[in-house]
Each structure stands twice: as structure tokens, then as C-alpha cells.
Symmetry: C2
Subunit: 242 residues, 2 copies
């Protein structure tokens, strides 16, 4: 099994963390800092609407004092998602459903970016190889799974298998692990974990349509999940709203 | 099994072809044109030394009259390869060995780009999703395998499994195939196939250090393999040398 979601100590290793600047990935960053000797954060500038999320990532990487690589990729030209295509409307959260916005007669929300996690993990794999990291940390979650196919545990497992065949590691015998510390945690549990690790959630941006100062809309799926998380964790919500 | 290397007709489909502009990928493009109703070629501008290869791809896509997307990605910042890092020397072909240049005490040549095929296939996956293609065509080859881990058949199979979990296709039930029409062909057989499909190999650039006009060095691994291919196919080598 190449996936691990344990939170036990394993100091002596070297990890690459996918850092969007949102609640989940920032929690992953602090989890990685607590569990690895060396941590490199990787963020992407892909023409996302919520560019304040990227500013949040840069700010947090600096505060957390980790090496940070921002990789510019032109996902916008691929179109097909409300997160990059200005012509597709970001829906408000449908609080009566399981967040599966059925606008295309299937269960994929329109906020899905084609092959996004695959592209992001592939770059993380390249960074892992050049930094000699043995672990990639990603904040996917099976509890709050919103219909994104590339957040499913079986997808992560398949990526890990592929990654171990793709690289020098796969030939020389060392093993790469995809760590998913949030996989089985509720949003409330993620927030509790982050607070215990020293995360300042007022600095994180989760909103799909945050303004340029990082203030959240309070209406989209991502905002709704986050609000519910703080409520259930019984922790004051420090999010800055528009 | 998600890999196919057959060359039988299957007109009625829609394919994305990874097109570098080299001998193998151009043969794949013409194979795809002969076997699919719709073909989209995808190339990458990743700061490669041999930029004339990209010019060749653009020229050939135009001649072949297929839709062509050139995706700019900054692989150069990842370093670690003679193909992008100006500080690493491209070795001449060692004609007494199996092309496994043992400069790092393992069997990986220094011309290896970290996670390159994984990044390229991930973008192809995104293009496949937005163009509704059911097949990605890549010119990997198990015969002339030069020590690149991400050219191995088991790697391609693992990528296909992951890809089918990553995307809408994986949820909605339609199946994505990674086609590898060159997998079991010798370089000579690839050239014979391409010539039968109408490829003009004088337009293709395979050399790792071609000049700005696309003329080959005649000395690197890639040039040597190509020369041997034409020799064994008993076809005049149309390659333009420096």
C-alpha cells in the first residue's frame, strides 16, 4: 500500500507539499513540517480566478519558513471549468444536497478543472525527484468528497503506483509515497488538527471567488464547507468575508 | 488491458497525439490520422535546447492538417537534465553499449527530464477531456528503450489505470485508452510504417542538440538510433546534418 494517512511521527524524511493556500493544503503543510526534516511547498499559478489564494500560499510558506516553488502553468487555455473560464458561472452552494451540482447530467461539479490534480501531482513528482524527496503530501479528503474524481482514494493509490514506475526511484529501488493526512478527517477534524499544529486560518483562502484581498464570498461550496467545519469544531471562524 | 499497440483500423474515434516533432511522434501522428476520425496534436514548449524540434512539430501539424495545441510549461526551472540545463553536457552516443550512459552509477541517461512523460501525458489527459477524445497516442518504444523509466510498458499501463480514475470519464463510465502503436517496433520498422503512411522524415528533428535550422549533430544517442534505423530499413536517410 502506497497511501498513508497516519499522523504518527516519521522525522528523518523529505517531503513535497502541494500548497494551494486553502484550509486543507495549509493544514498539510504544517503536518509535513511536524513530520519531516525537509519540506518543499509547491504552488501553481494557473490563471485561477481566486488568485488571492496564491498570495495566501506565498505568505504562509514564508511564515512557515519552508522552501517554496511557484510553477506557472497555462491551464486556462484548456478551458472547461468555472475556476478558470470566465464564461462559466460559479454556483452557490446547494445546501440541501451533497454538493454534487448536477448541471451536466452527471455528478461532476462545474468547478472541476480538467486533470488538475494529475497535472499538479505530476509537477510535484518532478520536484520530488530533483529535491530527492521520498513523499508527496496532498490534502485530498474522502469525507467531504464533492464529486471530483481526482480526489478519490483509489485515484491517489493509482497515481502512486504510476509514479513509482515513472521515475529514477522506480528503477533504483527507493520508494515514493503519496501521503494524504486529511483523507479520513472531517472538515472539523482538519481544523482541529491545524489549530493544534499552529495554523493561523485567518491567512488561508478557500473561497472559489475571493476578492483581491482574499476575502471570501461566503456563498460557494468551498465557503459553505469551511463555515460548517468551524461550526462543528466549535472554533471561532476567523475567515474574512466580503 | 488499457494499452494497445495494434495497427488495425478503428475509424470512428477521437485521439490526442503527443507530438514532439521527432521521428517517433510524427509517425504516431500519421498513424492516428489513418485510424481516427478526429486528431488533436499536443506539443510542449518547455525551454528545450532543441527548440527546432518544436518548430518541426508546428510545421508537420500544419502539413498534416490537424488541430495543434502548443502548451508552454516551465520545466527548465526543475533543472536536472542535459536537455534543459545548459550546465550539463549532452554525451555522444556510446556505440558499444545499449545506450545506458552510466554517469550517475545507475542506468538513467543524463538526458532524462524529471517526470517529463508524466507531465506531458497529464496535459494530454486534460486535452483529451476537453476535446472528448477517447484515446491518447504516445510514441514510446520498448525495443529501443534507452533507460528512461517513463518509457516502459508497465509505466504506460499504470498511467492509463490512473487516468481512468482521474477524470470525468472515470466516473461516467467511458474508457480512455493510451495507444502505443510503436511499442514493439524497431526503429527500422517505425520508419517503414511512417513511409507507408506518407511521413516526410526530412521534416522531423530527433537530435538532442539540433541547430536552429533543425540540422542534426549526427553524434548523440538519438541521431545514432535514427541513423541505424534508416540503415536497417534500407531507406535513404533524408536527415539534414550540420
Amino acid at each position: 500500500m502506497t497511501i498513508q494517512s497516519q499522523t504518527n511521527k516519521q522525522k528523518s524524511n523529505n517531503a513535497v507539499v502541494l500548497l494551494s493556500g486553502g484550509l486543507d493544503s495549509v493544514t498539510c503543510l504544517y503536518w509535513a513540517k511536524a513530520n519531516f526534516d525537509k519540506v518543499t511547498a509547491v504552488s501553481f499559478d494557473y490563471g485561477q480566478r481566486h488568485n488571492s489564494e496564491l498570495k495566501s500560499a506565498q505568505n504562509i510558506a514564508k511564515i512557515a519558513n519552508v522552501n517554496h516553488r511557484v510553477i506557472g502553468i497555462d491551464l486556462e487555455q484548456l478551458g472547461g471549468s468555472a475556476l478558470t473560464d470566465q464564461n462559466i458561472h460559479v454556483p452557490n452552494a446547494d445546501k440541501t444536497t451533497d454538493f454534487s451540482h448536477n448541471q451536466n447530467n452527471d455528478s461532476i461539479p462545474v468547478t472541476y478543472v480538467p486533470a488538475r490534480n494529475t497535472i499538479f501531482l505530476s509537477y510535484a513528482l518532478a520536484v520530488a525527484e530533483v529535491t530527492h524527496a521520498n513523499t508527496i503530501v496532498i490534502g485530498v479528503n474522502a469525507v467531504d468528497y464533492s464529486g471530483y474524481p481526482d480526489c478519490r482514494p483509489e485515484y491517489i493509490d493509482a497515481f502512486a503506483k504510476m509514479a513509482n514506475l515513472a521515475t529514477k526511484a522506480g528503477v533504483t529501488g527507493s520508494h515514493l509515497t503519496i501521503a494524504t493526512p486529511l483523507l479520513h478527517l472531517s472538515k472539523a477534524d482538519i481544523i482541529k488538527l491545524g489549530v493544534s499544529l499552529g495554523v493561523d486560518y485567518s491567512l488561508t483562502v478557500s473561497c472559489y471567488q475571493a476578492d483581491s484581498d482574499g476575502r471570501a464570498c461566503g456563498k460557494c461550496d468551498s465557503c459553505y464547507l469551511r463555515q460548517q467545519g468551524f461550526l462543528q469544531a466549535e472554533i471561532d471562524d476567523p475567515t474574512r468575508y466580503q
